[in-house]
Symmetry: D2
Subunit: 310 residues, 4 copies
């Protein structure tokens, strides 16, 4: 149950079977830092090329293909006072018929006030000078080495995680990844100070963080997509295009999870999902869109809990 | 401000420019009943062919193309003690690769306990005998006559409303429809006792209701898709396929709404949506899928309120 | 086997159960005229509102739901010397990322030379002054009254036909429509002097025509989507969104057709389609996209022929 | 202009920046062999794990990011007498509603008769015993190392090529790939003895080949997607999901190609594509679907030719 402090000196713009930066054990936690999506750190300097450079990978002792790596985001502390977004909205989330009238997308700077817990435009126009959004940190891109020795761009996502850009992946969330390679090889980065559903600006408020995470290994878990437990919810996230596809994948994996954890058949699991499922559109901007199928934590879904398992 | 009691004697399986069953004025309310999706009423008898038979249309005095018809769902009272669903989940929401192993979809009966506020399977197996879902009534299909003298099946939806199957369209919600024909011609039906996101079972808990609704006319509103205000949220709902398309339409219309109501430009409206938008997948079962773009009601979005307008 | 000459005096912008303009018998042919997509006829005048106004409907004696109406396009003769298109390409067929740089779509006039069999821009720039395309007439929008008393806009398409905009629907093609209403109620219009795959300009070269068509009734045919036979091919066309969906529908109906006509099972029919199917993207512009699944007419597919059947 | 004979001893199931197996020069040709999709060679033995194992990569002297690598498939000779397919059709190409009734997909063996130029089932049932398809060899999966040091599974495709499964990629075709890494790093494999549009069985007739290809380097070509010239056509192929997306990418790149090669603006290029484009659905089975935008080689498109360029 060691607590490692890791200062990254190199970063990767792909998630794959790369040489590990640190070996850790199930139960350990790591305090480290992440760059923003453009490669800038807490010192305001660029340390890696743009496109979600990752800290890592961390090799988890004993992790084997078929296992699950449970990662708990223990803490995310912004380590600088600014972030940035693009505006107007990304072309893919708007009616194609109006795109001819949209102005060019440009970068905007934001002020992050960790004490006040707010995020505000640095130079708002008079009419929106009072606009303020709650600071709600999340990891945009993190995951494990994918199957078949692939090295996948951190622009996109898959069963291994990656650039999911889901606003519920913040402090307190435990995410279970299927392990495809020995050691799992966990990467993380691309933190957002806040973000709406869908990452429809093509960004959250992009900034750098000090992140503390802990890992647990669950042997032979048989996951097909990442699962997650938060304080209030249980969810599966999946990736693909169009949005129909990650919804199909996430629903199918949730049906498996419900069936296995609650000991029910497909008809019974369907009764539950049909009346109780919630869907979140995590991102509708990246090459692979992400959808989460989510169930509230209630007495009924109690047996689905993954926190504390190992 | 009359309160009409209307007992339907005929129903329609299309929404179009049909002879009105009653003329009402802006400000009036109507107490009436709706059949379930298969045409069965509170007496347990079938009164119309299956496929969301509609009560109506109600002609609203003075409504003209370009206006908005604001419909408030004042009350939905189940008028029988059972409902039904299908299970397992609809094929379109599952990974196509597993559909070969899925059993045939069959109908299941549910007990609705209005006093207890619960919905339960009538004959659950032992292992799920304690499962219970909160009664949360909603209108699956309602709307106004579409443009160009079309008559559109109540299986599907569009800018005129129709079979949107959105769980937030319950008591307390005010829905603003664009008016395409004189009198607007409002239809309603297809109530659900409860339903998860996406209507992924292909049904909610389908049943018949006594419904009370009121209408207000807003002249020259220029809506392109239905808008809605609930106790907590402001939202646009749109229809299309794949899910990407209604998301594009709803986002585009929400951008217009924010711009007009808050007096901001596209860049500023994008800042708001980018950090604060929520998406709900209303249905992912019908010929046209529906997605809602939603904003929480806060001080910031106060000027967007539509309730009480006329 | 009468040959009717019908001069239309009214047009419809929906396809539905409307009063017939003429009753005809199986085996009859009709010579009539069609307006262009904007409602303009051979006299250069507008006779109906824009949006594919239809000639018809023609009531076919004895046609009942479940039958097939076989329509052969015997001849299409342009009845004026100009047509029009839009340019640049429709936003939906381009990468959304470049749409911000595209100029506004505008209308362009074309010269149709029926004798030379060519279509050319009326006022080409010097560098494209020699561009010429072969005259290849086709009906963009035609079909029969849809099921359930719907009246469907001629902007879109479905199992009843409608705005399919498929370049193979020209002289010599026999199209079999499923019949949903007594008399079938056949409509036609929206002729193009030529058009590429997908109708990606949002138009073909739109113009008015004199059209001769003949009809045959096939009892109890059980079609789910329109089928067609040309001089060289057999095909099913289907409609939906995204393109994946009409491809699924057309492939499924083609699998049925192969199975029934050749007396083979699904595995055997799959061997044929897997090695020999061709897909055409008919339109990727209208609210419903259309895809054709096509097989070449060979000794192997001979038993699938529909021409001459009644 | 050397002609290399290369006997592979290792294979790769990803396409990425791997150590080259041979360095060749622009103008050179290579005679080598490819395994089938399951890793079996001309000797009937498995030499690599299933999933389109690749021969290569070949390092092309002087190739730099931004260049184009032109690969001409000079010859494909089957080096065994059998191939295999799956049947029935893949679930993704059928109406989801019928998948519950479909039998399990199974493997079928085919006889390849290179002399007769035919492909036939090895053990057909009596009723299809005369079915025969023309031998029409094609490379299913080939391409160059993708950008950003990614290593991408040979199950899928992208701007770098990969598993495009397009039936026009056979002998005589010249395919121009954008170069992303020094040396280009060309891989090839996954040959099919024949295949319909869309690879809807999830396979062509999968078999091993002796392949001869030649390469030419074109400096600073600025391609965004692979282009191709055959004896009769010029085309762009692109990848994505749903089918709408590769169609958008291929149309956009074709618009660039037309504009640059013919010296016309976007409006003029749109006139050409609107009236003359053809679309082929290359595959609708792999994780990324592929669509080709194609123009016939005529006097008008002559300046677009890429063959012989260097």
């Amino acid at each position: 149950m060691a607590r490692h402090h890791f200062v990254p000196t190199s970063y990767s713009n792909v998630i794959g079977t790369l040489p590990p930066v640190l070996e850790i054990a199930s139960g350990d936690s790591v305090v480290t830092t992440t760059l923003d999506a453009a490669g800038f750190g807490g010192d305001g300097k660029q340390h890696a090329p743009r496109g979600n450079p990752m800290t890592g990978p961390f090799f988890v002792t004993g992790a084997e293909p078929g296992d699950a790596l449970h990662v708990t985001i223990e803490r995310m502390t912004t380590n600088r006072e600014t972030g940035w977004t693009y505006s107007p909205l990304a072309p893919g989330v708007l009616d194609p018929a109006i795109l001819g009238e949209m102005q060019k997308r440009e970068r905007y700077e934001w002020a992050i006030d960790a004490k006040a817990g707010t995020v505000k435009l640095l130079e708002p126009s008079a009419r929106i000078k009072d606009w303020s959004f709650p600071l709600a940190p999340m990891l945009g891109c993190f995951g494990v080495a994918p199957e078949r020795k692939q090295a996948i761009s951190t622009a996109t996502s898959g069963a291994h995680g990656g650039n999911m850009d889901y606003r519920l992946f913040g402090p307190g969330a435990t995410i279970a990844f299927p392990v495809f390679e020995p050691g799992a090889l966990f990467f993380l980065g691309d933190g957002h100070a806040c973000q709406g559903d869908g990452e429809i600006a093509g960004t959250g408020v992009e900034t750098s963080f000090e992140v503390e995470f802990s890992v647990k290994l669950v042997k032979q878990a048989g996951l097909r997509w990442p699962r997650c437990e938060t304080a209030t919810d249980l969810l599966v996230i999946a990736a693909g295009r169009p949005l129909d596809q990650p919804l199909q994948f996430a629903t199918t994996e949730m049906l498996r999870w419900v069936g296995e954890a609650l000991g029910v058949d497909v008809v019974e699991a369907s009764h539950l999902l049909g009346q109780a499922v919630r869907y979140d559109i995590a991102n509708v901007f990246n090459p692979a869109y992400c959808v989460a199928a989510r169930l509230e934590k209630t007495e009924l879904t109690k047996a689905m809990s993954i926190v504390g398992k190992a």
